[in-house]
């Protein structure tokens, strides 16, 4: 599903609210027939990932960032799978050398790639994507799109909410559109 927000009235706020990062003033979020208020927030967020427009990485190498999430209690029964990451990277035309790069040397687009891989490797159920390819060139953006589509097709229950300024991208990757309008 796409969220289209031509006038900038708050798609980011909406995504943050769905991710449970901000308290909501009214209404209720239902996930798998349960109200968000009755779910454990970290457990919910471990299935519903929010990808920030300008993701923040930890100081260190790319691989360190990918490994670090497995130290969180909710993911520590899973193990870091370098082979999987390498297959992701090869479809992005990048090799093993990318893993040892320091995050300070990455471009904005590459930071988005790392954040995206960090999320995909954990196989979430829902992805909330806030302009996930905004800093990438067109070719890389399409490769990331392909990865996300591949992730989604692996399980029919998986879904993602996508925002973008690129209308043709939204046409390609989404089936429904939700258009936000400012109330006059």
């Amino acid at each position: 599903m796409a969220i289209v927000d031509p006038s900038g009235v708050g798609k980011t706020l909406l995504l943050r609210a769905i991710a449970g990062l901000d308290p909501i003033q009214a209404g209720e979020i239902i996930f798998q027939r349960q109200s968000l208020s009755s779910l454990s927030m970290p457990r919910y967020r471990a299935q519903v990932f929010y990808l920030h427009q300008q993701p923040a990485l930890l100081e260190g190498t790319v691989e360190f960032n990918l490994q670090q999430v497995y130290r969180l209690t909710l993911h520590n029964q899973k193990a870091y799978n370098q082979a999987q990451i390498l297959s992701y990277l090869s479809s992005l035309q990048r090799d093993v050398e990318f893993l040892s790069r320091s995050v300070e040397d990455l471009s904005g687009g590459e930071v988005q790639i790392v954040a995206c891989l960090r999320a995909l490797q954990l196989a979430p159920q829902v992805l909330l994507l806030d302009e996930p390819t905004a800093s990438m060139d067109e070719a890389t953006a399409q490769q990331i799109e392909a990865l996300i589509v591949q992730w989604q097709q692996a399980d029919s229950l998986r879904s993602c909410i996508w925002t973008s300024h690129n209308a043709s991208q939204l046409q390609r990757v989404t089936e429904h559109q939700l258009i936000l309008k400012a109330t006059p």
Binding site: R45, A46, F49, H52, P55, A56, L72, L74, A119
Partner: protein, 266 residues
């Protein structure tokens, strides 16, 4: 009690105060513009200290446990207030949180020192309790204000890092862990460096005791005991204030609530 130190009378005090003329003279010749603030600070310091001297003399003479407790409480309240006033951001009840952590930690370590180690009789003997508590409070105050300030600034500065951890399913504690650690480290730095400097400048309390005629080896023992007490008190208070701030600024729903943090109007 035989008096083996030289008391300072009013004339000698006035004589010493001429030393401040050096500062004033420098400020005037170099146009540092410090005359007014320097004068004010000097006056304030003299009045405050003389007043404290009189109040303590009175407390010592009355020798009443309630009075000692009252003075201790007032001292803690001033420290709790000063600790917050040095930080750059505010949240609701920040003063109470600060007072609570400083009061609890200082009371605990000073209590242990007075009752458990020194075994003072009676326990409230103001000659020991007040100066010991004062030293613990002074250091706790520096530590907590550094730790609290660092914690709040880091939360703002590292917000997106913390939130991306939260968004990946981290608990609030996992997401804040680095920030908490950094804040505690910052709060402990003055205490740790203070223990290192012993050779460069003789610590204040030791100097005071030596001037008062105490045998240097005895004064050193007091100083060592006080160092341990101060580091325990500072560590506890920093932990207390950072954890209380953590509970306020991270909701039970594992949200970082920076909307509860306001920048102080200067």
């Amino acid at each position: 009690m035989d008096q083996n130190y030289i008391p300072i009378d009013n004339i000698q005090l006035a004589l010493a105060s001429t030393l401040i003329l050096i500062n004033l003279g420098l400020s005037v010749t170099l146009q540092l513009g410090l005359v007014k603030s320097l004068g004010l600070a000097t006056l304030r310091m003299v009045v405050q200290l003389l007043l404290v001297g009189y109040i303590l003399g009175w407390v010592f003479a009355l020798d009443n446990p309630w009075l000692v407790l009252l003075v201790a409480l007032v001292m803690s309240a001033i420290a709790g207030n000063a600790s917050v006033s040095l930080t750059r951001r505010r949240f609701l009840h920040i003063y109470w949180h600060s007072l609570l952590s400083i009061l609890a930690s200082s009371a605990l370590v000073t209590g242990l020192l007075v009752e458990g180690v020194l075994r003072i009789d009676p326990w409230y003997d103001p000659q020991y309790v007040i100066p010991l508590l004062g030293m613990v409070l002074g250091n706790t105050l520096t530590g907590t204000s550094l730790a609290l300030d660092r914690f709040m600034e880091d939360l703002v500065g590292r917000r997106s890092q913390i939130e991306s951890l939260l968004a990946l399913g981290a608990t609030r504690w996992e997401a804040a862990h680095e920030t908490v650690k950094e804040a505690l480290r910052t709060g402990m730095i003055p205490t740790i460096s203070m223990m290192v400097v012993g050779l460069v400048s003789l610590p204040g309390m030791m100097t005071g005791q030596i001037l008062g005629g105490v045998n240097p080896t005895d004064a050193v023992r007091y100083q060592i005991v006080i160092f341990f007490t101060i580091s325990a008190g500072t560590a506890l208070a920093c932990m207390g204030i950072v954890l209380l701030a953590f509970v306020v600024l991270f909701s039970p729903d594992h949200q970082l609530r920076l909307d509860r943090l306001q920048k102080r109007e200067s």
